[in-house]
Structure formats: C-alpha cells, structure tokens
C-alpha cells in the first residue's frame, strides 16, 4: 500500500509543533528509513500513519483510505493492515511468546488451527522457535524485539512500521533484525523504519528521509546517514 502525506502538521497542546507542513510519498513495496535526532518528529509521523494521532492540518492517505475520514468502527480493520513495532515493544508480560503473537490473529477471529500454524510460522521466521513458551521478562532485549516483529508481521500487513527497532541492541542482533525487516519488505510490504542507527542505514542503503525539528530536511534514494562534509 502506498502512503501519501500532504501538508501534514501536528501540534500538541499547548503549542508544541511536532511536525510542520510535511509532504511525503511512499510507494507500495518501498523501504524507507526515517532518520533524525530525538524530538525531530519520527515517532509522531509513524503514529500519524498508524492513526494513533490525527493531524492538526493536512491529509494522510494510506492506500485508498483518507485517515482523517476513517470512522472509528473501521479503525480496527485499518490497523490490521498496518503492522507496528513499538519503540517499547508493548509485549504483554504475562503471555508467552506464542500467545503474544497468537492474540493478534485471535483478535481477527481466525480459527484456532490457523492461528497456531501461522503463529508458529512467524515465530520460527524470527528465530524464536525454541523460546516460544517463555514470557517476555525471560527474554533478552533483542529477543523481545523479535517477538514484537513477529507479532507485527503475523497477519501479513501491507504496511510495516518500526520505531527504533534496533535501539539498545548490539550490532549482531541489530543486523539480524535489519535482515528480517528487509525480508518482510522483499515480500512486497511497504516498510518504514524510524532509526538513528547510522551504521545500519549506511550498511543497508535504502531510501532515506530526514526530519529536523518537525520539518522534512532530506529525501534521498539510497541516501547515507551523514551527508558528505557534514562530519
């Protein structure tokens, strides 16, 4: 699914401008890095696309849906098409890895047998098969991140949003996560990754969009994190 933002501004009360007049077009099946310093508006932009927030001004369309006009009764169905990996994972600590992944599918009313087979499939894909009956507090940060990815990809979403998916992870784990995200993108899913991990951005070069103080500063195909001469 393609994503279009036209003139999007988000102001939080009382007058904190998180995003200002952002125009952005992401084609279906594209991979995009969203970079910028802390507070540049990366998370706000992802939350606008997942319709956690509504823009103060401007329009956002995802596929053929105008998010401002989306009725609350249609919101769950929209969110099922958008897989989100949250910065803080948002895993349920008293459910096992398997249950954390399965409950996304159960919420969609999918029969138990299919829930089981699909959950096992994605858990295997993220390399957590042997840990599927453990609970999040028993897992490392990287493993929890992978559970969050497995949960987001369980219902094969058309759009995949990941907010700092490699934050606080070691290099090896970060690379594993990155390869996982690229494999999700390879299946035709539109992927947007908010990050400030310069190593990964430069190692796996893709389209790069930089935000600065809520404004779009840079938009480059196969861009590098730092522009020549910036360092």
């Amino acid at each position: 699914m393609d994503i279009r933002l036209s003139g999007v501004t988000k102001v939080f009360e009382p007058d904190i401008v998180a995003l200002e007049d952002v125009y952005l077009s992401v084609d279906s099946g594209e991979f995009l890095y969203l970079v910028g310093t802390t507070g540049s508006g990366k998370t706000t932009l992802l939350r606008l696309i997942s319709r956690e927030y509504l823009p103060t001004r401007g329009q956002i369309t995802v596929g053929d849906r105008n998010l401002r006009k989306l009725r609350s009764s249609d919101l769950p169905y929209y969110r099922r098409e958008v897989g989100v990996v949250f910065q803080d994972f948002k895993l349920l600590p008293n459910l096992t890895v398997f249950e954390n992944v399965a409950f996304v599918l159960e919420a969609m009313g999918i029969p138990p047998k299919l829930v089981e087979s699909r959950s096992n499939e994605v858990i295997d894909q993220v390399g957590l098969w042997r840990r599927r009956f453990l609970k999040p507090p028993q897992l490392s940060g990287g493993e929890q991140q992978r559970v969050a990815i497995a949960r987001a990809m369980a219902n094969s979403p058309s759009v995949f949003l990941a907010d700092e998916p490699t934050g606080n992870l070691d290099l090896r784990t970060s690379e594993e996560i990155m390869r996982l995200l690229l494999s999700i993108n390879a299946s035709g899913t539109t992927v947007i990754v908010a990050t400030h991990d310069q190593y990964l951005v430069d190692a796996y070069r893709q389209r790069l969009v930089e935000l600065h103080n809520g404004r779009l500063k840079r938009d480059e195909r196969r861009g590098r994190y730092f522009v020549d001469g910036e360092l």
Binding site: S50, R51, E52, Y53, L54, S72, L75, P76, Y77, Y78, R79, R80, V84, F86, K90, L92, N94, F103, V104, E106, A107, M108, G109, I110, P111, P112, R151, N155
Partner: protein, 294 residues
C-alpha cells in the same frame, strides 16, 4: 464463532488470573444483592400484610326504608375502586340476624313486619379507596347510613402510602448502590488490564472483541453473586418464617413457594443483568476513550 470461543476462554482467564479481584467482586455483588433482596422481601411482606387487612375491610351502606338498592348498586359497580359488592335483601338480613341471635332467634318474631332495609356490602381494593367511595354514596338520596371503620381506614391508608414510598426509596437506593459497586469493581478489573487492552486496540482488535470477555465476566460475577445472595436469603427467610409463626402467629407473612421462587428467579436475573450492564458500560467507556485519536 472463533471469536466467541476466544471470548469464553479469556473470560475464564480473566476470572482466574485476577482471582482475588474476582472473589472480591463476587462477594461484593452477593452482599449488595442480598441487601437488595432483603429490602424487596421486606417491602413485599409489608404490602402483603396491608393488603390482607385492606381486603377484610367492608363498607356497609343501608338504604332508606322502602328504597331498593338498585341505584346504589349501579353506582358502586361502575366504580373502579370496588373489588366486590353484594346487595343484601331485608329477608337475608333478617336471616343473618336470626343466625346471630342463636337460641334467642325467636325474638325477631316480636318485630312483627321485617324492619330491616336493603343494604350493600362493599369490598374495596385498598383502604385509601374507602373515603372517596363513602363520599359518593352519602350523596345518594336512597342511602340512609354508611358504616365503615373510619379511623382505622385512614390510618391504614396512611401506612400503606408510607410503606410504598419507603420501600420504593429503599429499593431504588439499594439498586443504585449495587449498580455503582458492581460497576466500580469491574472498572478496577478493566484498569488492571489497561495496558493489554491498549495493545489490543493498537493491533486492530474491535471493541466488541475486547468487551466480550469483560461482559461475560460481569454477567458471571453478577449471576454468581445473585446465587450466593439467594442462598443466604433463602436460609434467612425460612428462619424468619419459623420465628414469626412461633411468636407472632397473627402476622401474615409470604410463604407461598411459587411467589418466592419467582422472586428468586427475578433476583438472579437482576444480578446477571446488572453485571452485564455494568461491565458493558465500564468497558465501553474505556475502549471509546482509548480509541479516540489524539
């Protein structure tokens, strides 16, 4: 179909994962429903006793000599306040007098011609209906005299009105308290799963899917609480019947099994419905707030 299966499974997960809270809700529901049931039984018995006394109240209207009871009978029959009316002929009245006098019945022959007039025996639905009826009868030209237990009627009418008002207020208050207590206990249960619900909403669960386990949980706790309350009430009430029979034999108290069974079924339904409504309201409020995009 699968959604219902998950909802039932999650209902039991909810009940047992937070078993302390579930037990607290169950006991709270049982206590408030017990108080509600007790207040209702008290009100029902008050009403029953008063209506028994009211049912025994009779207004006697005597016609003037030579007048028949037709006109008065027509008026009384057309009144919606009247439960039953019977016209007593002079001959029947004389027979009754003879019966009353027993072995002195011969004395009535001394009266010569039967001096007794036509009369009406009227039973009303409630004590408070007597005064307006008497007022209507007194204006009829054929009526000589109307006899009724004046002061008693007025007092009964006052007690009847007061008892209806007091029991109405008690019932309303206990119902309100039960609703609030069950609503708040279920709200606490919902807040203890706040994070889980928010994640569910973010990953695309519908509010119906999220609400169902809470609604089922509320219904189960409400119905369970009602069952406990019914058991408690049943034992208290049968002891009360025994105690009243042995000490205040003249007091009428409801002991009809059918009426009591109907009342317990009603209390059970009230418990389940209150649980269902309270949990639906609490979870609906929470999900609507959480779903609102900022």
């Amino acid at each position: 179909m699968a959604s219902f299966r998950y909802a039932f499974r999650d209902t039991f997960r909810l009940l047992f994962r937070h078993w302390g809270l579930s037990l607290l809700t169950l006991l709270t529901a049982a206590s408030v429903l017990y108080i509600l049931g007790f207040a209702s039984l008290f009100a029902m018995n008050m009403r029953y006793m008063i209506s028994r006394i009211e049912g025994a109240l009779v207004v006697q209207a005597y016609m003037k000599r030579g007048e028949t009871a037709e006109q008065a009978l027509e008026l009384v029959r057309s009144s919606p306040l009247v439960l039953n009316v019977r016209a007593i002929s002079p001959e029947e009245a004389l027979e009754r007098l003879r019966a009353k006098l027993g072995n002195q019945a011969q004395a009535v022959t001394l009266l010569g011609e039967n001096p007794l007039p036509w009369s009406l025996e009227i039973q009303v639905q409630r004590a408070e209906h007597i005064t307006p009826l008497v007022r209507d009868l007194m204006v009829l030209p054929s009526i000589e005299e109307v006899l009724y237990a004046g002061k008693l009627v007025e007092r009964l009418a006052t007690i009847s009105r007061a008892s209806s008002a007091v029991s109405g207020v008690i019932l309303l208050l206990t119902l309100l308290i039960s609703t609030l207590v069950i609503f708040n206990t279920i709200r606490i249960a919902i807040y203890s799963r706040k994070e889980e619900i928010e994640v569910m909403l973010l990953i695309g669960a519908t509010s119906t899917y999220i609400s169902l386990p809470f609604v089922f949980q509320g219904m189960l706790l409400g119905a369970g609480g009602a069952l406990l309350a019914i058991l408690g009430l049943g034992s208290t009430y049968s002891s009360a019947i025994e105690a009243v029979r042995s000490t205040l034999a003249f007091v009428d108290i409801i002991d009809n099994r059918r009426i009591l069974a109907q009342f317990y079924v009603f209390l059970f339904a009230a418990g389940a419905t209150t649980g269902w409504m309270c949990s639906w309201l609490a979870v609906h409020r929470f999900t609507s707030q959480s779903m609102r995009s900022r």
